[in-house]
């Protein structure tokens, strides 16, 4: 019994699940109907699911997809990529410019997506080479694209904010006719399953953690740290391109200045809340996705409480500080000690009663 409690307590998913649970309880107490899902009819006449729960899952999907890519980078490079939002803007711009030069059909959309993936992987590899080969701290290496990325997107767009509109794109950003679940959620789940299968079934997941825990040992055991790091950046590049394209499809235009604005900060927070140490090592993809949902649930809750949109950041920060404090090693140790002390006292009491009898 104690062993299993210890095992559960030491799991990375305890804190994120616990905080998500608290958020859910808080919302249910405030408004019992908060999570009710209803079936509504959208503009195109299809029956779709709607409600706060769906909007949380839908709104968080872009951040969740990027955080799936960010998690292996955090794990093996011991740092974060802060250029993801800027690279997503570049990928979105490429996507739109390919779409605008052709008639929009399914093969063209796939072609445009592949193009944006290629471009995004190229930029990601630029970061990856700086980090893996030149051994520069990830945050500093990606600062280059962070400051230049949106300007490159501006240059691709020619300074305008071009729009694309087509029922096909609307079905990617919204609902596929006949399926009541928003498409971004389906894409997110597909990504999560695909990448966790790749990381679980191949040795890549293990190698990533080994490189993150101790690079020297990894090298001695015949793992090439450079290659592992580069692969993690390639995965991140694909994730970032997908997130960028989904966002473009959802809003129907590319605005290089505001596309996924401040998403890099949200993504890093999602990874941290999800139980992956920002100092590298063990990682949990599922935790990162839950982290993204926590952030989005928090935002939706604050909006539902009629907090002005600009002030949401402050409340978000306060809650995040609380969550991070709860998951800090010092507080964990304190609770474990408290638990032990109370347990010991009970044991002593039992002893006393036994000896007395």
């Amino acid at each position: 019994m104690r062993e299993s409690i210890k095992k559960i307590m030491s799991s990375q998913l305890v804190i994120p699940l616990f905080s998500l649970f608290l958020l859910v309880v808080f919302n249910l107490v405030r408004d019992p109907g908060f999570f009710s899902i209803s079936i509504a009819t959208n503009n195109q006449g299809y029956r779709v699911l709607s409600g706060n729960l769906i909007s949380i899952f839908n709104g968080a999907s872009a951040i969740a997809i990027i955080s799936i890519g960010m998690t292996p980078i955090t794990s093996c490079c011991r740092g974060q990529d802060i250029s993801v939002a800027a690279v997503a803007a570049i990928a979105g711009s490429v996507f739109v410019s390919v779409l605008r030069s052709n008639e929009i059909t399914v093969p063209v959309i796939i072609f445009a997506f592949v193009c944006s993936c290629l471009v995004s992987v190229l930029f990601s590899l630029f970061n990856g080479v700086l980090v893996a080969v030149f051994r520069i701290q990830p945050m500093i290496a990606t600062l280059i694209l962070f400051s230049a990325g949106r300007s490159i997107a501006y240059w691709i767009n020619g300074g305008a904010t071009p729009t694309v509109s087509s029922p096909l794109l609307a079905s990617i950003g919204g609902f596929i006719p006949g399926i009541p679940i928003p498409t971004p959620i389906i894409i997110m789940v597909l990504f999560l399953v695909l990448i966790s299968i790749v990381l679980r079934l191949t040795t890549l997941g293990l190698y990533t953690q080994v490189v993150g825990i101790n690079e020297g040992t990894a090298h001695l055991n015949g793992i090439d740290p450079v290659r592992v790091k580069l692969v993690s950046f390639v995965i991140s590049g694909i994730c970032v391109a997908t997130a960028g394209c989904i966002t473009v499809c959802r809003i129907g235009l590319i605005n290089h200045e505001t596309l996924l604005l401040d998403a890099e900060m949200d993504v890093i927070l999602a990874v941290a809340i999800g139980g992956t140490s920002l100092g590298g090592g063990k990682f949990s993809l599922f935790g990162s996705v839950i982290g993204a949902y926590i952030i989005q649930a928090l935002t939706v809750t604050l909006y539902a409480m009629k907090v002005p949109s600009a002030a949401v950041k402050a409340y978000k920060a306060a809650v995040i500080i609380l969550i991070v404090m709860l998951s800090s090693p010092v507080v964990k140790e304190f609770f474990i000690n408290l638990y032990r002390k109370s347990f010991k006292k009970q044991a002593e009491k039992k002893k006393i009663t036994i000896s007395a009898s």
């Binding site: 701290q137 300007s151 101790n214 002005p308």
Partner: protein
């Protein structure tokens, strides 16, 4: 002539392998690059670059950035990071303006408020980082969100300060004797600096002195180099880290007041991306994010180089805004690669026996913290 000799001796020292610390070497490169760049642009574009006022405007416009970067230097030397500087700066401007306008505040009161806000944020960051051992990136990110969110709680619309005594302070200019330029009509216009520049320069000097000659400053280098060996040497790691973040917060508060003196307005968009520019100034100035290496004089020249490149881009006719950030990115890329190459070459020269991945400075240190 003297400069040449210095350079020559520098070269011979390098050949003899007499120890120049990484800090000095990286700083020298930055200082030389800045002067080279400025002299070159003086020769090529002349015009504005020959005007001393344009050089002083680099300080006038960016005094606040310099102050944030100084605080960040201390934190980065100790091996941490503080990205809340821009947010705190903007919050201070807004709170001070609202206080001066709506609550009939005095100048002294607003200065105290700015210091208080800075200290409060520094205290929060310090406690969370040193006592709770949370990653500094997350803590200061939350601090940034908190500050930026609180601005809009204080006031959503941008405000301008109109109080008289504050305006008098804001319009105060210090005329530098003997330096100036000739206007279009041929009259002599003396060069001017704002009071904020004096504050910024004195902070640079104070921080330089603290880093060089006080126990606290040397402890910062020790912690950044290797916090475990610093602990075994009897340095109070937690307390030193706490004071580093406290100082960074206080300097961000001062920076907010300097920003207010420069623009006189409170706005949620004030000092946007200042934290990233401050990090860039530090990197160009030779402060490493890994800690233990850096100098505040380097930060000063890093900031100047960063802003001069923008001026050069504008002078060369590329006025579209995206050219500026692309060149900033290229410049960062250049400096980062240069530093990594120089450090790699120097380390290879010293420990040739060890292969690349076994170097103690890079893999060993972080590996230890992981196993901890």
């Amino acid at each position: 002539m003297k400069k040449d000799r210095d350079l020559l001796t520098g070269k011979t020292e390098k050949k003899r392998r007499e120890p120049i610390s990484n800090t000095t070497l990286l700083m020298t490169i930055t200082v030389c690059t800045f002067f080279g760049m400025y002299l070159l642009s003086m020769m090529i574009w002349k015009g504005g670059f020959l005007n001393p006022q344009q050089f002083l405007d680099l300080f006038n416009n960016n005094a606040y950035l310099l102050i944030i970067a100084c605080g960040l230097t201390m934190v980065m030397i100790s091996g941490g990071i503080d990205i809340s500087g821009g947010g705190i700066t903007a919050l201070v401007t807004m709170v001070c303006v609202v206080y001066l306008e709506d609550h009939g505040g005095t100048v002294l009161g607003s200065i105290l408020i700015s210091l208080g806000i800075g200290l409060a944020f520094g205290l929060m960051h310090g406690i969370l980082v040193s006592c709770f051992e949370i990653q500094p990136f997350i803590v200061t990110l939350a601090g940034m969100f908190l500050a930026r969110g609180m601005i809009t709680i204080v006031s959503i619309a941008p405000r301008t300060a109109t109080q008289e005594s504050f305006l008098r302070l804001k319009q105060a200019r210090i005329t530098l004797p003997g330096i100036g330029y000739y206007g279009k009509t041929g009259n002599f216009i003396p060069a001017q600096i704002e009071p904020g520049v004096i504050i910024a320069i004195s902070i640079v000097v104070i921080v330089a002195v603290i880093l060089k000659w006080t126990r606290f400053g040397r402890n910062l280098y020790a912690i950044g180099g290797n916090s475990h060996s610093a602990l075994t040497l009897g340095i109070n790691v937690k307390r030193t880290k706490f004071f580093a973040y406290l100082a960074a917060g206080l300097l961000s508060g001062i920076s907010g007041y300097v920003y207010l003196l420069h623009t006189g307005a409170g706005d949620a968009a004030n000092a946007a991306q200042a934290e990233m520019q401050a990090i860039a100034s530090n990197i160009i100035g030779g402060t490493l994010l890994t800690g233990g290496v850096g100098n505040v004089i380097g930060t000063l020249f890093g900031m100047l180089s960063l802003k001069t490149i923008t001026n050069i881009v504008i002078a060369s006719g590329l006025t579209k805004p995206y050219y500026q950030s692309i060149t900033t990115g290229l410049m960062l890329c250049f400096f980062i690669l240069l530093q990594s190459l120089i450090l790699a070459v120097r380390e290879k020269g010293r420990v040739r026996l060890l292969p690349e991945w076994m170097r103690p400075g890079k893999t060993g240190k972080t590996g230890k913290t992981e196993s901890h």
